[in-house]
Amino acid sequence: MTRTVVIAIGGNSLISDNDHTQVSDQYLAAVETCGHIATMLAAEELRLVVTHGNGPQVGFILRRSELAAPELHMVPLDSCVADTQGALGYHLQCALHNEFKRRGMGRVAATVVTQVLVDAKDPAFLQPNKPIGSFMNEAQAQVHREKDGWALVEDAGRGWRRVVASPAPKQVLELPVVKTLLDAGVVVIACGGGGIAVVEDEAGQISGASAVIDKDLASSLLAQQLGADLLVISTAVEKVCLDFGKPTQRSLDRITLAEAKQYIAEGHFKPGSMLPKIQAVVDFLEQGGKAAIVTDPAHLGAALAGLGGTHIVP
């Protein structure tokens, strides 16, 4: 039985650092990541969905949009996320295509632009807390608050920044399409940047939301809805650590769902970093997922064979 796997790769796997932001650098980062994904697929024929983050890339689009504001309207957030699904999906599908060709593998990749439904009544909309875009001074902040209805927060000493809601993902609208492609053996790139956040009214009509969805939570939801066997979260570290950064730091090879929840409760994982990843894993396992892995891109192949990374089981 072919295993169904969802792998979430970080937006940072697609940009190595701030000195490497040229298109060619971004493409090379995608090539490296796709090489590791192809290694996984060479070892085991999987029904595979690749999801990705877009943090740095959305930042670029917003910054450019601000700098071009004298000439052009600002790009709305849902459209920004859709832009990054286009740009990053293209790089990933092209890099995967070439990697499959190089290894003589008969696989193909396709990107599906993905909308993810959120609840218009999600409490996150009342307390937007996800900072996006550039810092600005108080006067500029005032203008955006009044003219554009933005929520803004002051970051001590650095100025004001726009904050948007980060609601919980409820439904991946393109789920049937992703299934159709997986059934045909296509490697599917979906849910880029956590998906384009949309809300639905009583009549079933959907509209874009000024919100961003955590890509690990969206990937977990997709894995649940697909009935996936395995959720893999690719991040900057090979293994999940307890007491991260302390002298008592220790890495984890294999933990249970109960242990994962206990470590969350004990405050081992940093919000905005490891915490949403472990939360995504917990959600997946609680909804019937059989196993999850957290590791870095270089250890993907080994981790799938059970030889690396942190494995979380029910």
Partner: protein, 315 residues
């Protein structure tokens, strides 16, 4: 039962009209109107594939790349085109889903990012002719030509513009995925902006190139390769005319391919307007296509599907 496939090509200006600023509200309203027309084709029972242009939208993205170039490295044209496939696909998809739901047809709509292979020895690469992006002052144009190797041309006193090749589309990389989704009951938005142009290098690897593929040419190729039963080309007139503008002018309901080819050779269809549409139609029919419908968006949205527009059919 396999549904018949209809491929419909719309211009980028269907979403961002001339004189509009391209505000999201404007584009949404335009997309809503477009979706009503698209939903009609779906309601007729066709599996619908939509190809959209992206001229005005990619133009805006290029303005933003330049405005931000002091701080953020600009993206290349292929990546900018991919961005428009994402955001325009999303907008059209969302509006079409809404319209279909309104009609009680809750079928999926998907946007597939589409790469299109061109030949790197295409003569377009030696002599780039297609202007893209903003006008630049001379000092900046000279700098860009020197540092980035761009080809640029002065445009009758308005400033300098980048020119890129417009090579012929040869192969649609995601063809099988598009076909599969259409067969599975989804409407598919594909080949946006004519596709993301890539070449095959010596090792057969795909490499993105800075070029623009003509959307109508790509549509004809995609329609033929999908085996689409109907290829819909939208234009500014409700029907094709013979002897257009003369006292002997007549509107045509139906034309055979060879008749259309004869009229084209006689110069009945002006280059830059109806000419390229008829050429696309013939390219599709020669590639194995069955039927072409040429009409306006308004007519397609409102008139009787049986008599609307001009049909060009195989001999």
């Amino acid at each position: 039962m396999t549904r018949k496939i209809a491929l419909l090509a719309i211009g980028g200006n269907a979403l961002l009209k001339e004189k509009e600023r391209g505000l999201q509200e404007e584009q949404q309203e335009n997309a809503r109107e477009t979706a009503e027309m698209l939903a009609r084709v779906v309601a007729e029972g066709y599996a619908l594939c939509v190809v959209h242009g992206n001229g005005p939208q990619v133009g805006n993205i290029l303005i933003q790349q330049e405005a931000g170039s002091g701080q953020i490295p600009p993206y290349t044209l292929d990546v900018c085109g991919a961005m428009t496939q994402g955001s325009m696909g999303y907008l059209l998809e969302r509006m079409l889903i809404n319209r279909l739901r309104f009609l009680g047809l809750d079928t999926p709509v998907t946007t597939v990012l589409t790469e299109v292979v061109v030949d790197r020895s295409d003569k377009g690469f030696q002599e780039p002719t297609k202007p893209v992006g903003p006008f630049y002052p001379e000092f900046r144009a000279l700098e860009l030509m020197r540092t980035k190797g761009w080809k640029m041309k002065e445009d009758s006193g308005r400033g300098w513009r980048k020119v890129v090749p417009s090579p012929k589309p040869l192969e649609i990389v995601q063809l099988d995925a598009i076909k599969l989704l259409l067969q599975s009951g989804s409407s598919v938005i594909a080949g946006g902006g004519g596709g993301i142009p890539v070449i095959r290098d010596a090792s057969q690897f795909l490499v993105g190139v800075e070029a623009v593929i003509d959307k109508d040419r790509l549509s004809a190729l995609l329609a033929a390769q999908l085996g689409a039963e109907l290829f819909i080309i939208l234009t500014g007139v409700a029907k094709v005319a013979i002897d257009f503008g003369k006292p002997s002018q007549r509107w045509v309901d139906r034309l055979g391919a060879s008749e259309a080819r004869k009229y084209l050779a006689e110069g009945q269809f002006p280059p830059g307007s109806m000419g390229p549409k008829i050429e696309s139609a013939l390219a599709y029919l020669e590639g194995g296509g069955q039927e072409v419908l040429i009409t306006t968006a308004e007519a397609l949205a409102t008139e009787d599907p049986a008599t609307v527009g001009t049909r060009i059919v195989r001999d």
